[in-house]
Symmetry: C2
Subunit: 275 residues, 2 copies
């Protein structure tokens, strides 16, 4: 029997003593000149870049998150690069495909199959607006995680997520729903909760102490590392994602060394705040 995702997360975090998730969201325009000159094809430059980042940061990262958008905009070559990057990940780290999918039953099954069967990801992100039957096909993969968008880190997130119903913001209703959705799928539901609203993050953690939180929004988006760290339970059920802060720590040839340094510093900051 496959272990629950929560067990696998614990084990991956213990192996490197880290709650860091490195966001592999490569933008060709931002790659170091040295790589762009070496490779004529953008997807080749991206794969080489990802490989260098993975090699350099693996000692400090329990997971990698790949945002599908940054690969899809290169078409079928991009999809191949996404799959090839996943193949490069060390076996003791987790792979999250951040695709924010959400569609009806038979379509959701196709998306889930693409992400969990074809790409072999350990987790993915999904949108909640369509309700349970859009999420269930993902939950049916044992050992994998389905991170439901609960409270996102972007500036417009208040527009709908903060609307108040029965005295509670919509995102708290979404969180409660997501827990219900996961009832028959132990260890499979996670939340996406941005670090840009520390008080709300903390409140959600207090309400849901055992759910894995995937936390974007630190660094370039302005969320404080301390806020993310405080959401760690004693068992460390958080994945704190950093993309740009690690990938583009340096524009020079030493980009991989600087990425490793940024990942290590984030790991240490998280562990220190949480200790």
């Amino acid at each position: 029997m496959e272990s629950h995702f929560t067990e696998r997360l614990r084990s991956a975090q213990a192996a490197c003593d880290s709650m860091v998730c490195v966001g592999l969201d490569p933008d060709v325009a931002k790659l170091p000149d040295s790589l762009r000159q070496k490779y004529a094809r953008p997807e080749a430059a991206i794969l080489a870049f990802n490989n260098a980042i993975i090699q350099a940061t693996a000692p400090y990262a329990c997971a990698y998150k790949l945002n599908a958008a940054f690969y899809e905009n290169l078409g079928s070559d991009g999809f191949r690069t996404l799959a090839a990057t996943i193949d490069l990940l060390p076996s003791n780290t987790l792979c999250i495909v951040d695709a924010k999918r959400g569609d009806i039953g038979n379509t959701a099954r196709s998306y889930a199959s693409s992400i969990f069967n074809l790409l072999g990801a350990d987790g993915c992100t999904v949108a909640p607006y369509m309700g349970f039957d859009a999420v269930q096909p993902f939950l049916e993969y044992p050992g994998r995680a389905t991170f439901v968008l609960v409270r996102t880190s972007n500036p417009s997130s208040d527009e709908l997520q903060s609307l108040i119903l029965d005295g509670k913001p919509l995102y708290e209703h979404v969180a409660n729903r997501a827990v219900t959705w996961g009832k028959n799928f132990p260890g499979s539901v996670g939340f996406v909760v941005g670090a840009t609203k520390p008080q709300e993050l903390q409140r959600l953690r207090d309400q849901h102490p055992t759910i894995p939180f995937l936390i974007p929004g630190i660094g370039a988006q302005g969320g404080p590392v301390e806020a993310a760290a405080c959401a760690a339970t004693p068992k460390g059920m958080i994945l704190v994602n950093s993309s740009r802060g690690i990938l583009y720590a340096s524009p020079d040839e030493n980009f991989d060394k600087m990425a490793a340094k940024a990942a290590r510093e984030l790991r240490d900051a998280l562990n220190q705040t949480n200790s």
Copy 2:
């Protein structure tokens, strides 16, 4: 200057006197045996199938909608098949990529570029939960349409969409927001509204008489054709999608003829109810 999407929709509908949108959601397991035997590679069978369906239904369809999930589950070959199918569409029909994307600013820009630049689609679907900054990058393409998920056709759609705030269901708030989002992008915002809840569809139409509605949910999902037709304004601002009802009208070699018949009958039923 490029025409607004609403103008292009009117023109495409006038050309074939039809409000039918054919959903090209090919499932290899459901293709006619004749095609599956002829082509060893699933993506080749799908492309041949799509080509036959397009040729047969073009006289009766103003638009085609391609759901990305059914292509992504074939990996990079699937992505190539999606692009190749779009290349087969007649120039006087519209192409909607149904991907239900929703992500933060720089990521949304990548998705929008993938759908509008790379694939050259005329419209796409997006999820509303993250708010305006997840939608704006799509709206910035002049002449294209961004269909916001307002009221979906799936069984679980009530869970969040029907929650009541200030006396109105959430989906009405989403509709009003979407109109606000489109203020500076004339003719660019559309709604996805399922036909499975006829009264709600009619009410949304009464509230928003000039917005293009993309209407799934008839046929296999149980929504009545009449309900969809009644949402047509005098200027016909609806796209009524049928996927399975047309694609799999017959499992035999005459599948294309039967698909044409199904598309023609849907067109006629919509026009008759609307006349």
